[in-house]
């Protein structure tokens, strides 16, 4: 009897759910990395729950484990995630191995146009093969690697005077990588307010993608390319060009002469820690963290300034960011598609930006008030104009692991030369592409 009553009650709840949406109420699980924007998304999703009657569960994995665990989940055909906000580089594998649902028909049916999203983000987060109109994700979170600095220190008269005396120019956010190095070295070991400070906190992490994301922020502006001709996998002369070698040597010099001791395995969290604890004058990190940093009670507000990754031989920033995809193994694809449909609406996108997420929707980005809506908003637009991303090949993980190893061996573990590191990287990558049948 008890069971029958319970069933009746459940049915009643289900029926009342129907009045809102005529689909069945599902419990959806959305998987993403555990970081500031994820909390904003939880907040945002409450509206979706109210509107559609589905309930949202979230599985947020810390960045160092995120790729490992989620790719493992996809490869094992797991049903943990219905929706996945996966990293941009996963799109090739997600598409070719059938992990992600192709969204073209759905977009067409619901009237969602990719023209409403910034072209760089659609290219990077949604398409496979690159640039083809086959969409496997909706751009969800625009991101790039940028910089922030201690504005209060930069503005101190004695520090400004000391800098001018040494370098003959005013202390200001760097415009080139060379200036960045100068400033980092200038602050390295300097005593400010009675404490020893250091130049900059940069990415050196070995386990996931840290050092690659950090080093490419120097390599790209110096002139590093993946291929001589796009799509031909001809890496000789691109990956190990004299400019690329100079860029890598530069990153090592920055690491050796401008970073706090002990940061041999540092990524997002450590970079934030170093900055928040007042150890460094500058730090690199993803734009995603900037709203949180600006709001930080200790180092935010007037004390913090932001700048886009400085150019050298050209302007370039390392791309971050993710698209949102429907996992092919999910039993609740319809409800998951509801979420994407809801998320794509301009009003939701606007709110997403307000809460601290980086919308890729043109109605948000092209709004005349956007550059002034936050102190880092205009830098974000600047960065997204010149983003470069790592390989997005299905074999991305293998390509990344090779680069992690070669970079860490050279930069942190002091083995060999930059030329050797990049030459070996070409060997590793050639082997992978041969295995893939692409060479």
């Amino acid at each position: 009897m008890k069971t029958a009553k319970l069933l009746a009650a459940t049915a009643l709840v289900a029926v009342s759910g129907l009045s809102v949406s005529n689909a069945q109420a599902d419990e959806l699980t959305l998987c993403w990395a555990a970081w500031d924007p994820a909390n904003a998304l939880v907040e945002l999703s409450k509206e979706f729950e109210a509107e559609y009657g589905h309930t949202m569960k979230f599985e947020f994995v810390p960045w160092p484990n995120f790729a490992d665990r989620m790719l493992n989940e996809l490869n094992s055909g797991g049903k943990l995630c219905d929706l996945l906000i996966g990293d941009s580089q996963w799109i090739g594998g997600g598409a070719e191995n059938g992990h992600y649902v192709k969204l073209n028909d759905f977009f067409e049916k619901e009237g969602i146009s990719m023209d409403d999203f910034a072209p760089a983000t659609v290219y990077a987060y949604s398409t496979w093969p690159k640039g083809e109109p086959n969409y496997y994700a909706l751009p969800a979170m625009g991101d790039a690697n940028g910089w922030f600095y201690r504005k209060d220190w930069f503005e101190k008269p004695d520090i400004q005077a000391a800098f001018k005396e040494k370098h003959g120019r005013d202390l200001a956010p760097p415009k080139t990588q060379a200036e960045l190095l100068e400033i980092a070295q200038f602050f390295q070991g300097r005593e400010i307010d009675g404490q020893t400070r250091y130049g900059a906190s940069i990415f050196t992490e070995r386990g996931s993608e840290g050092i690659t994301m950090g080093a490419t922020s120097a390599l790209y502006p110096f002139g590093f390319k993946y291929e001589m001709t796009p799509g031909k996998y001809d890496m000789e002369g691109a990956v190990n060009s004299p400019e690329a070698v100079a860029g890598l040597e530069f990153y090592k010099e920055l690491y050796k002469t401008g970073t706090p001791p002990g940061y041999t395995d540092s990524y997002m969290e450590q970079s934030l820690d170093a900055f928040k604890s007042g150890q460094v004058a500058m730090a690199m990190n993803w734009f995603a963290f900037f709203p949180g940093l600006y709001a930080d009670p200790d180092v935010g507000g007037d004390k913090i300034g932001f700048f886009v990754n400085p150019g050298q031989n050209r302007e370039a920033s390392t791309l971050g960011g993710q698209g949102i995809s429907v996992v092919a193994y999910s039993d609740k694809q319809d409800a998951a598609l509801d979420y994407i449909k809801w998320f794509a609406q301009p009003s939701v996108q606007k709110k997403w930006w307000d809460l601290g997420g980086y919308s890729c929707h043109v109605s948000v980005l092209n709004d005349p008030s956007f550059p002034d809506s936050a102190p880092f908003a205009s830098d974000f637009l600047l960065a997204m104009d010149n983003v470069m991303d790592f390989w997005q090949e299905p074999a991305y993980a293998e390509l990344l692991l090779a680069m992690q190893k070669r970079l860490h061996d050279y930069v942190v573990a002091d083995q060999g030369t930059a030329q050797e590191a990049l030459d070996k990287l070409i060997e590793d990558w050639t082997e992978t592409f041969e295995d893939e049948g692409k060479l």
């Binding site: 909390n39 810390p62 094992s76 055909g77 797991g78 820690d273």
Partner: protein, 313 residues
Amino acid sequence: MSSYSITEPSSRQKWVAGTLVIAYAVITLLPLVWILTTGFKSPVDAIAYPPKVLFEPSLEGYVNLFTTRTRVSPEQLQALPPPATWYEEIVRNRDMVIAGPSRYGERFLNSVIIGFGSTFLSVFLGTLAAYAFSRFKVPLKDDLLFFILSTRMMPPIAVAIPIFLMFRTLGLSDTHLGMILLYTAVNISLAVWLLKGFIDEIPREYEEAALIDGYTRFQAFYKVVLPQAATGIASTAIFCLIFSWNEYAFAVLLTSGTAQTAPPFIPTIIGVGGQDWPAVAAGATLFLVPVMVFTILLRKHLLRGITFGAVRK
């Protein structure tokens, strides 16, 4: 030791040996004490220099372990009604509000389910097999026993490759059932070897007497051997439980959410901005203390357990 023996160490020798051993014990236990105390430190005290021995105890680590929190602006904080509970108050003091429970409880529960499930199965199957190996002529007995042992020599990562493919095909990835079966298979070699040793020590005459009394072989096993082997079975069970409890490699490769146990989860506890060491320490404490208690309970059979019954005191 009442009578004088020339092999009995002198009291000075004892004193020196005792001091050295205690010194070693103190040093070796320091890291464990550090885990315990860090769980009760505030985040600031946890990373203080020099490390703090005396500190004001705080439950913040435990609160952070069991909750997820979001930062709010001071204005928003002002607008909220006063905190209803002591743990909300702790969180509010850091300009944050509780957003919901964390995943630690679920992961801990998974550890309990998978640990007990696999322990029950391996001890059950292990007792049967051990009895058979102990009492009957099983063809190729020594080879089978060695085969059972050799399954433990393979690195778990190597075994995980085909297991991963098998689980994927059977839909066992990230399920409790899959992990229980897998841990049972790993534990059963230990269970068989240990239990065989314990059952070997029970005199055969007991059962034979029961058989004469009209018991069937099965009844004799059930009513005579099992009660006699109870201590052995209990300690074997604890060893199996500790293994499943501590296992990491399979868990990290074969589970992602639904069936994930605590060991792969605890290292991923991250607070707002950096690893939240008091919370990690709190999670580790809750996870390690049961094993410490078991170890103390088990001390008589410890050696036997860790050497697969090869060394019996």
